[in-house]
C-alpha cells in the first residue's frame, strides 16, 4: 500500500490532485495494480538488455533542410491564450530566494 507522502509526491510529478474523499480509493486501486506487477519478479532478467528497438544509421536521419513553419493564424487556430505574438501564462514565480540565504 502506498503511504500518503509517496502518494502526494508522485501526484505532484504529474501536477495532479485527487480530492480527499477519493484518496483512499485511489490508493487502494493503484496499490492492487502495483501488487499485480509483482508477477514479473519470477522472470530472470540478469544480463538482459531493455528492449530499445532496432537502431538506425545517421544517414537515414532527417536531412538538415528548413521547411515552412506556422504563420500566426495557424497558431491562433489552437492557442488558448496568444497575445501580441506570445503565449501567455500566469506569472512565473522567480527562481531565486532573494538574498535570504546568508541567514540559513
Amino acid at each position: 500500500m502506498i503511504d500518503d507522502k509517496t502518494l502526494d509526491e508522485i501526484l505532484f510529478l504529474g501536477r495532479l490532485d485527487v480530492s480527499r474523499e477519493e484518496k483512499e480509493k485511489f490508493k487502494d486501486q493503484v496499490g492492487k495494480i502495483l501488487d499485480y506487477f509483482d508477477l514479473l519478479k519470477q522472470y530472470d532478467t540478469t544480463g538482459v538488455d531493455p528492449d530499445l528497438g532496432e537502431g538506425l544509421k545517421p544517414s537515414v536521419l532527417r536531412e538538415d533542410k528548413s521547411k515552412v513553419t506556422f504563420n500566426e493564424s495557424d497558431i491562433e487556430t489552437f492557442a488558448v491564450d496568444f497575445k501580441r505574438g506570445f503565449f501567455t501564462v500566469p506569472r512565473i514565480v522567480e527562481d531565486f530566494l532573494e538574498n535570504r540565504d546568508e541567514d540559513e
Binding site: I10, L11, L13, G14, R15, L16, D17, V18, F26, Q29, V30, K32, I33, L34, Y36, F37, L39, L40, K41, Y43, T45, V48, D49, P50, D51, G53, L56, L61, R62, F70, D74, I75, T77, F78, A79, V80, D81, F87, V89, P90, R91, I92, V93
Partner: protein, 481 residues
C-alpha cells in the same frame, strides 16, 4: 437489395465507379443513419462529431467523377477516432484537457487517405486518450454496443467499432496500444486490424504509449482493410519509427492456400478465465484450419502470462511523459483565475483528466521514479525483451498464432468501470502483439450461445499483415461461421 449503409467499402467503390449512385447520396445515407440513431431511446453515441462539410466534399467528388479526374478512393467515406488529428478539425481524445483544441495539421495516415480521395465523416468516441477497454471513460459519455445497447462496444476505439457495425460508416480508423482496435472489433462483430509497429505512421496520432501505439483499421471485410492499408502504409519522414514497408500490392487480396500453414494455439489463452463460449469458437476456427490442411499445434508459451503486467507498466510510463504537455499553456482547456502558474497546472490537469487517465499517469510516474525504476520500469523493459525473443522463436516455427481476441464477451456498461484491474485483465490476449510489434487481426466468428459477438485473433510475424488478411478472407468467403 442490400442497403447502402450495409455494404462493404469495396462494394461501395464498385457502385461509385459504375456510377450506380452518387457520393452525395452515399455520404447522406451515413449522416441520415447517424441522425436516425440520435433519436433512439439509447443512442449509440459512436460519433463525437459528424462533419457537415462531408457533403460539400462529396459534391466535389461527384464533380471529379464527371470530369474523369477521380482519384482511386474518390468519395469513399471513413470515420476517424478522436485521437487522430485532421487539419481544421477538433481533436480531444475524449478528454477535458483538450476541449476546444483545433488541429492545424493532419495525421499522415489521414492525409494519405484524403489524398487518395476519401472523405472523413466524423470523429468517433473513445476512452480518454485510449486508456480503457470499454469506451466508457469519455467526457462525451459511453458508446453503446449496436448488438445490445446495454453492453459495452469495447475500447478504447469503441466509437469506431460501433459506427462500422451499425452502418454509420463503412470503415473507421481506430488506434491500438494494447488491444484498443481488436477488442471493440470483437465485441461489435467487425474486423479489426492492429498492424505491425511501423506499418502505419504515428504522426498525428495523439501519443499514449509511443513504443506500442499504432493506428488500426475497423471494417466489414478483410479486403476493405487491405484496400485502406494499400494507400495508408509506408515509411513517413515525420515518423522515425515508421517502417519502409510496401503494402501497395496487398489489395486486392490474393487467394491463399491454407494447406501447409502452421498454426500455434497457446494454452495460456485457452485456460482459466476464458469464456467457454469463446473457447469453443476458437476451437472451431482451429478445426477449419485443420479441415483445410493446416497444421495446428497446442502448446504453452509461458511468457505470454507476463504481457499484461509488462504492458501496464510501459504504457503508463510512456503516457505519464506523453501527457505532460497538457498543461494549459499553449492549447486545450485552461482553468482560469488561478493564483500562479503551479496552481494553473494542477487545476487544469486535475479537472481536465478523468479518473483512469489520472491513475495511469500516477502509475507511470511511480514506475519511473528513482526508487522504483529498476523494480518496475526497467524490469518490464527487460521482460519485454524476453517476450520478443520468445515470439520470434514461435514465428521461426509457425506462421500464425490463434487465440481469442477477448477472454470474455462484451460486458454490461458500468460493470468494470470501478475495478481497473479487472478491466486491465480483459486485455490478456491482445497486449503481447503490441509488445512484440507484430500484426494481429480480430476476425468476427459469429456469436456465443447468448447471441453475443465473438472475435478470434490471428497474429502473424512482423509485417505479415497480408497473410492475416488473406487467411481471414478465405475464412470469410467460405462463410464458415
Amino acid at each position: 437489395m442490400k442497403e447502402l449503409i450495409g455494404m462493404s467499402l469495396s462494394e461501395l467503390k464498385e457502385k461509385l465507379d459504375k456510377k450506380e449512385m452518387s457520393t452525395v447520396e452515399l455520404v447522406r445515407a451515413y449522416l441520415d443513419a447517424f441522425e436516425a440513431d440520435r433519436k433512439h431511446e439509447k443512442p449509440l453515441n459512436g460519433y463525437i462529431e459528424v462533419f457537415r462539410d462531408s457533403i460539400e466534399k462529396a459534391e466535389k467528388a461527384d464533380e471529379a467523377r464527371v470530369r474523369g479526374s477521380a482519384r482511386p478512393l474518390e468519395g469513399l467515406p471513413f470515420a476517424v477516432k478522436d485521437n487522430i488529428v485532421i487539419k481544421g478539425k477538433h481533436a480531444t481524445c475524449a478528454s477535458g484537457v483538450l476541449k476546444g483544441f483545433c488541429s492545424p495539421y493532419s495525421a499522415t495516415v489521414v492525409k494519405r487517405l484524403v489524398d487518395a480521395g476519401m472523405i472523413p465523416l466524423g470523429r468517433t468516441n473513445m476512452d480518454e486518450f485510449g486508456m480503457g477497454s470499454s469506451c466508457e471513460y469519455s467526457i462525451y459519455g459511453a458508446t453503446r454496443n449496436p448488438v445490445d445497447r446495454d453492453l459495452t462496444p469495447g475500447g478504447s476505439s469503441g466509437g469506431s467499432a460501433a459506427v462500422v457495425a451499425s452502418g454509420q460508416a463503412p470503415v473507421a480508423l481506430g488506434t491500438e496500444t494494447g488491444g484498443s482496435v481488436r477488442t471493440p472489433a470483437s465485441y461489435c462483430g467487425v474486423y479489426g486490424l492492429k498492424p505491425s509497429y511501423g506499418t502505419l505512421s504515428r504522426y498525428g496520432v495523439v501519443a499514449y504509449g509511443s513504443s506500442l501505439d499504432q493506428i488500426g483499421i475497423l471494417a466489414k471485410t478483410p479486403q476493405d482493410i487491405a484496400l485502406m492499408l494499400s494507400f495508408a502504409a509506408g515509411a513517413d519522414p515525420h515518423d522515425m519509427t515508421s517502417a519502409p514497408t510496401n503494402f501497395t500490392n496487398c489489395s486486392p487480396l490474393k487467394e491463399r492456400d491454407i494447406k501447409g500453414l502452421k498454426v500455434l494455439l497457446p494454452t495460456e489463452f485457452l485456460g482459466e478465465g476464458i469464456d467457454p463460449g469463446i473457447k469453443q469458437k476458437v476451437e472451431s476456427f482451429a478445426q477449419w484450419f485443420k479441415k483445410n490442411g493446416a497444421q495446428v499445434d497446442t502448446d504453452s508459451v509461458p511468457i505470454l502470462q507476463a504481457a499484461v503486467a509488462i504492458y501496464y507498466i510501459i504504457a503508463p510510463a510512456e503516457a505519464s511523459s506523453n501527457l505532460a504537455r497538457y498543461d494549459g499553456v499553449r492549447y486545450g482547456n485552461r482553468v482560469r483565475q488561478t493564483a500562479n502558474l503551479e496552481e494553473m497546472y494542477v487545476k487544469t490537469r486535475s479537472e481536465g483528466f478523468g479518473k483512469e487517465v489520472k491513475r495511469r499517469i500516477f502509475i507511470g510516474n511511480y514506475v519511473l521514479s528513482s526508487g522504483y525504476y529498476d523494480a518496475y520500469y526497467k524490469k518490464a523493459m527487460q521482460v519485454r525483451t524476453l517476450l520478443r525473443r520468445e515470439i520470434e522463436k514461435v514465428f521461426s516455427k509457425y506462421d500464425l498464432i490463434l487465440s481469442p481476441t477477448s477472454p470474455c464477451p462484451p460486458f454490461k456498461l458500468g460493470e468494470k468501470v470501478d475495478d481497473p484491474l479487472a478491466m486491465y485483465l480483459t486485455d490478456i490476449c491482445t497486449t503481447f502483439s503490441n509488445l512484440a510489434l507484430i500484426p494481429s487481426l480480430s476476425v468476427p466468428v459469429g456469436t456465443t450461445g447468448a447471441g453475443l459477438p465473438v472475435g478470434v485473433q490471428l497474429a502473424g510475424n512482423r509485417f505479415r499483415e497480408d497473410l492475416l488478411l488473406e487467411v481471414a478472407a478465405m475464412y470469410h468467403k467460405e462463410g464458415s461461421r
